[in-house]
Amino acid sequence: MDELTTYSAGELARGYREKKFSAVEVTEAYLKKIDKENSALNIYLEAFSDAVASAKKADELFQTSPESTHPLTGVPIATKDNILIKGKTASAASKILENHTATYDATVVERLKGANAVFLGRTNMDEFAMGSSTENSAFGPTKHPIDPTRSPGGSSGGSAASVAAHLAPIALGTDTGGSVRQPASICGVYGFKPTYGGISRYGLVAMGSSLDQLGVLARKVDDIETVFDTVRGLDKNDSTTLPARPAPNTHKRIGVPRSFVKDAQPDAVAEFERALNTMASQGYDIVDIDLPTAPHALAAYYIIMPAEVSTNLARYDGMRYGLHVEGESLLQDYTLSRTKGFGAETRRRVVLGTHVLSSGYADAYYKRAIALRAALVKEFDAVFENVSFVATPTAPGPAFKLGEKLDPLSLYLEDIFTVSANLTGDPALSVPYGTVEKDGVLLPVGIQFMSPKNSEKALFAIARDLMNENKN
């Protein structure tokens, strides 16, 4: 039975068509495995009992009209708890939304339902996607499937761990500063963030709206591409979505900002160099590039993101939905609801955002950060005139111990290599290439490739070259 949970989405799609197994059998195998293993790892906040009914519908489709099936028909998918599925709880791992039921489907969910995919359950995350360890969840941290004393990364830690632990073949996450790519790197799976506007954000719980993107996690490049092709494109409910544009021409030249890369841990850098050597032997040209602004991107990010957080989270007032705590006045109702509902990191970012936007400080912080973001965009655009890819380690190191990074800043530094792509809007993919040893345990590390806007297909191609995966 456990064998069914080892297949990729592509292998499941073939198996269904060759009648080797059914979607119901696969879904039941996953639910059984989740039931057995989840309490130790806290990967899922909830497994959906109606998943079997969706799987049954998919099986019927294979019987009655196989021509109307899709590559994702009957394929189970885990979703991060900040993605709305009508009728299901969507809590963003926050007390303030603990009892919130989604009143509509996110566009990505609607499109996946159209493909008759099977929603398996909602995965744990840092509250409102704020964090890099999943320790900020109001419902307890998720544990790393390889070493439960370690963090799976975050904020999409539950989604990354679900794919790594074979508790889902694919998972959806969200990526505001690296929240899909960093946990993917740490858990040893692929983590993909498209071009800003590549996938609709309608129906995602907003964090930093100029940075947020839906992302995909899987064990095969093909699966990432299949999901991307299914959910991408224009959406009238999200005016930032982009029409499909012709992909820019790409060549085999990879730029490496070495003075920046050296900030990663030495063993992670060694694995990164090993990946570059493999690329060189595949005919790729590795060139040094200079990205002088990139090391400061994280500073700009920690101004722009909290500014957007403080405005986005103003909607939680305890009046229309979410937690309500009764006080003696309207103001007290607001304050008590938010105080009881928000965790420590959420409060920190709301207060910080209020500071950087306040009169007398907005010029010194917010406006300077926006100017730095503009300089970063220019810098990447100039680099992409000469190279098709920029490569860095995805994260500074492998999985760290739960409770190891209690100081907010040390955790923020986990995103040092990933935030640039959110600030520029360029697509990026973390590829599970290497491993490093810590305390006698082999832990995964990823290499990140960034590329110009709308060149997602080039990212999939370079990942296949590095990992020797054939396109099906």
């Binding site: 005016s239 400061h296 500073a299 939905y321 103001l331 105080t339 207060v351 912080y365």
Partner: protein
């Protein structure tokens, strides 16, 4: 950058968040540390970047105002999420005295 405790208290009030004395001290320390880190944005030399937008290729997107859905089509479902309601209304405490 030093941030006074009173300033942090004011920020929390503006954010509609209540902090205990211990939480306030921790918040002050955290905010100071984070601001010390992000302070680099003020020091870095940026050439002709004043008044620049990071995404010059971005344009406003408009759509026709068409296909309105029926009145009340979603009202019940949305109001079902409200902590307190009275028919078609969300009930809140008195705003004007």
């Amino acid at each position: 950058m030093a941030v006074s405790k009173d300033h942090v208290k004011k920020l929390a009030e503006l954010s509609r968040i209540e902090l205990t004395e211990t939480e306030l001290e921790k918040m002050q320390e955290d905010i100071e540390n984070i601001l010390a880190y992000v302070d680099v944005v003020q020091k870095i030399e940026l050439s002709d970047s004043d008044n620049q937008s990071p995404h010059l290729d971005v344009v406003n997107v408009f759509r026709e105002d068409e296909d309105p859905y029926e009145a009340d089509a979603f009202t019940d479902e949305l109001l079902a999420q409200a902590p307190s309601r009275d028919g078609r209304f969300v009930t809140v405490k008195k705003i004007l005295g």
